[in-house]
Every structure is written in C-alpha cells, then in structure tokens.
C-alpha cells in the first residue's frame, strides 16, 4: 500500500522529522526559524509508529551546519535530519550531542553570573553513570538533561 504524504514533498532543503510533538516549537526556536525568510512547512501531532505523536519541519532552500542541527540533540535526540536535493534525500544526518552547548540553554542557578549580566551561557556535556548532565562553565552547577531550561 502506498503511503500518503501528510505534508507536501520538498524539492530542495532540509526536513527534520520524528521530533516529539511537545518539543516541536522548542526546535523551531533553537534553529531561529521564527526570523527565517525561507518557505517553511510545520506539521505537528502527526501520527507516528515510533514516537506516538510527532512533529515535522520542512525548510525550503536551506542547509544547516552540523553544529546547528546538533543543538537540537539536547531536546530531540532521535530526530532525523534529511537533506533534500531535487526531491531526493542526499544526506541523512544522525544527531550527536556536542561537547559544549552555547547560548541556547539557561542556567538553573538564579545566582549564576549568566542570569544576572549579559554573558553568553556555556555548558559542558558530561556523562555520569549513563546519565547525561550539563555543567555550567561559569557557576559549575550540574543539571540533568531533562531538567534543562531552553532559553
């Protein structure tokens, strides 16, 4: 049986698929798509065998650097990035968490310099006992991945 596309096919650009539905708008914000001039199709709460309800984003005529897409690994580690040229997938990208995350995460410590002065946040990504932790480069406080606050 032929599958019917719920979101129109893309000629050239980037497709981000399998985003958990509750993370879709965070991904939009991390990639700063609000200010993008490109044509963008966003679908959410689509049925997915893998993640229950998923979101998908299609951005025409735009490629993302690896370190840009890796930023979303923090909140949507299983999202799939497909780079499309002439309706063909030319690259499938697997997300990997960077060693350091800049800007997008807010420190949970209200007394941290980054919450009180114009300082760009920096977090080191650590693994303790198979649990991913983010350590603030400035105040040195560690938070668990699922307690992270995205700006």
């Amino acid at each position: 049986m032929e599958k019917k596309l719920k979101v129109a096919a893309l000629r050239n650009g980037t497709v981000i698929d399998h985003i958990p539905a509750d993370k879709l708008y965070k991904v939009v914000s991390i990639l700063r798509l609000e200010t993008s001039e490109n044509q963008i199709t966003i679908g959410n709460n689509l049925e997915s065998a893998k993640v229950g309800k998923k979101g998908i984003i299609k951005i025409s005529d735009r490629a993302f650097a690896v370190d840009e897409t890796n930023k979303i690994a923090l909140i949507a580690p299983n999202a799939k990035i497909n780079i499309i040229r002439d309706y063909q997938v030319v690259e499938k990208r697997v997300l990997t968490l960077p060693e350091e995350i800049r800007e997008i995460v807010q420190c949970t410590n209200p007394n941290c310099i980054t919450n009180n002065q114009p300082v760009t946040t920096r977090f080191l990504v650590l693994t303790h006992n198979n649990e991913i932790m983010l350590k603030c480069h400035y105040c040195e406080r560690e938070v668990k991945r699922d307690e992270v606050r995205i700006k």
């Binding site: 007394n111 310099i113 002065q117 303790h128 105040c139």
Partner: protein, 301 residues
Amino acid sequence: MSNKSLVSISDYSKEEILAILDSAAEFEANPNRKTLDGKVIATLFFEPSTRTRLSFETAVIRLGGSIIGFSDAATSSSSKGETLNDTIHMVSCYADAIVMRHPLEGAARYASEVSPVPIVNAGDGSNQHPSQTLLDMYSILKTQGTLENMTICVVGDLKYGRTVHSLIMAMSHFHPTFKFIAPAELRIPDEYKVFCQRNDIPFTEVTELYDNFQDADILYMTRVQKERFQDLMEYERVKNVYTLKNSMLYNTKPNLRILHPLPRVSEIDPDVDENEKAYYFHQAQNGLYVRQAIVSKVLGL
C-alpha cells in the same frame, strides 16, 4: 584572556598545587621581600569580606606592591549599573592583576575570560574560593609533614560548604580517607560521593559528632548556619550536638589538628582554643603566605 588566572582549585594540577605550597613555605621563612616592587594589584570586593581582603592586601604590601580597589560594591561603579565586563576592562588599564570577590557564582570565570590581566578568585558566591583551599592544604602539610594518606573528618555544613567541596577535590590527589559528619539536612551532596567513588577515595558518613573522630589526623570544622534549616527546633538541636568541646578531644590522636575556615560561631567552644590541637588561628596566618605565593604565580614571578 589570561590563562594564568586562578578561578577554581581544579585549574591547578597536583604539581602546581605542590609548587604553590613550596613557594608559600619560602614566603613564610621570609615574608617581607620586594618582589612586587612597582606592581599594582587591584582588590575588587563586590561584597565585603574583610578577612580575605586584609589577607590579600597584606600579602601584596609585604612584597612591596601597591593596592587599589574597593571593599564594598556600594562604593563602586557597579552600584550605578556598570557591567562586570566594563569594570574589569577599566581596572585592567591600571592594575597588573585583579583579586576579586563577587556575590554571583561564575563571576570570576567570566572575569578571567574578558580580562587582559590575571584574575585571582577570592570567592564567587557559593562556588569557589581557591586561596582558602590552598591555605587549608598548606596547614595540613605543615602540621602533618605530608599530604598523603590523611584521615580527614569534615564536620558541619557539608551541603553548602564550598570550602569542604573544594578540599575534597584538591585532596583527591593525595589518597585521603574522608569521614563526613553532618546532620541529615546538611549531608554531603551525592555528586561528591560519586566523585570519591570514581577516584577510589574511601569515605564514611555519620550524623553524630561525638566519639566519631578518634582516628582523624585532621578535624575540619565548618559553620552551621541557622538560615539553612527549615525547622528551627532541629537547628537548636544540631547546634548543640555539633559543638566541639575540649573534653571531646581527650581520646584523639596526638597529631590531630583542628581546622576551621573561620569565622566560627558556636561550633567550636572557646575552651578548645588553648588545646595544642587547635590550629585555626595559625591556619588564618598561613593564608598570608599562601596568598603571597598565589599572587606571585599569577604574575609569573
């Protein structure tokens, strides 16, 4: 950016820690030299800390250097809303190094990234205070003759006590055994227990002070602060149970020394002061030599 700054005790390797302690011993033998002749050191205290400021300033003056700065943010331009970035840039036009105390955690790390001159962290909120850790280590070395294989009992506020956390990290190079003695509310955070496990450092945890430090070489006391407790009844109980009295030292090892970062409130009874095992006032004096060593190192002297 200067890589010579001292922000966190973990910035220093084991060798660098030992070099600082060696250098401190030389300054103790001869604390008045003119090695900082012509140098200007800024002490920027965005929150007051008279003890630490006087120690750093004396260290500089005894080496022939000069001091500029402020002892309270209310008298500085930060009260007009100037950013830390701007204050650091401005002061670095005048000074060869900056000693800084700031109420916000991470302030010293940030300052070290924007400053063209070295930064010495003299305390950033509840985060780091590396000169305290180094003077604690100097005190251990001086009284025990070694840093290796010490049994260290740390007592009091192990949850929020930054001096305790830094001491655990710094002593991890020297095969210590720790005993953590704290009321349930103020017990050592899990991340430090994980740190000990990862570094093969044996430790035990108990909740009562009495009769629990007979095997100790070092008894490291900290202040138990009232504002850390939700239940004030519990605070009153803990305050009394966690007071070290001279009579409790009867059965302890002869080489035991009692350290405390000071100021103390009620956790050490004044009747301990006369005991030869009380070392906290000497410890404060050691701070002078250690800070002379730190300022000299960051200036590359």
